[in-house]
Subunit: 148 residues, 2 copies
DNA sequence: ATCATTGCAAACCGTTTGCAGCCTT
DNA sequence: AAGGCTGCAAACGGTTTGCAATGAT
């Protein structure tokens, strides 16, 4: 459950250090229901009195992304915490961790969807075009349960 | 077939003017097999002796995108010509023209895929999460026929 | 004590804005 | 002739880099 703590332990096990700025960013991401841009993270931390330098936020996000602890929303570039309840989810050896997002256009809430792989339909699209599909990126936009 | 000419006629019919810069950009896009960034377009035009100001390229691309004559690749932000052979493809009243891309990671070639709508699998994903899906963005990356 | 990590300053780069002048209609 | 469109200059804003200081191990 505690996303921030889990993420910090994973980082530690991989030789990274547990620092205050990293903890502050992770705890913010733990609270956030929506995806956030680096600047939004900066502002939210500022207004909470938790001062972290903008540059550090960029570097921390890069580190978290490298370690599959956050992912980026393609259509906005914002970042969102990964679901760490699935053991394999943040493994480093899988280049393409296959999950997708349901993004509410009204409240911005993000729900993570575990992908069961290419559907027959999708596989067929590639085959028709003589294309060998390696990875795919998929995002849904719509209304979440509360907003619809 | 002649993408640039078709696009110019569509623009004209919508009250836009046919100008040299627009023609130059469209003819470049017609030749391009891969998606291009604004700066790549600028450089390619320069080396062809066809000088168009960077700012104009931005404004022309914005116009073309507004009119559904080009589309943007989500994972790179680059633009690519739309397939205009389909009559409805660049209509203005359809907010979400549903097509997707097969992008070759080796040569960058882009193939456009006409989307038959949400697959049962996709529709089901949304339903499970209580999500009303309105639009979706899908990109495939892999190897095209030549590169595989 | 060591070295990863942070904070600050400044550079960087793609993009946007304002405005005068040009060119299509 | 009118006004949409372009080109130039300059501003803008998010991101990156270099380096000294800090702090986790």
């Amino acid at each position: 459950m505690p996303y921030a703590e889990d993420a910090l332990q994973i980082l530690k096990s991989r030789g990274y250090r547990i620092t205050q700025p990293r903890r502050k960013v992770l705890e913010l991401l733990e609270r956030a229901e929506t995806a956030l841009s680096p600047y939004e993270i900066k502002d939210l931390l500022d207004s909470a009195g938790e001062r972290v330098d903008t540059v550090s936020i960029y570097r921390i996000l890069e580190c978290l992304e490298d370690n599959h602890l956050i992912h980026r929303v393609l259509t906005s570039g914002k970042v969102h915490k990964c679901d760490l309840s699935n053991e394999d989810h943040c493994r480093l050896d899988q280049e393409d961790h296959c999950h997708h997002n349901l993004i509410c256009r009204s409240c911005g809430a993000i729900e993570e969807v575990h992908c069961p792989g290419l559907s027959p339909l999708e596989a067929n699209l590639g085959k028709q075009a003589g294309f060998t599909i390696e990875t795919h990126h998929l995002e849904f936009s719509g209304l979440c349960r509360k907003c619809s």
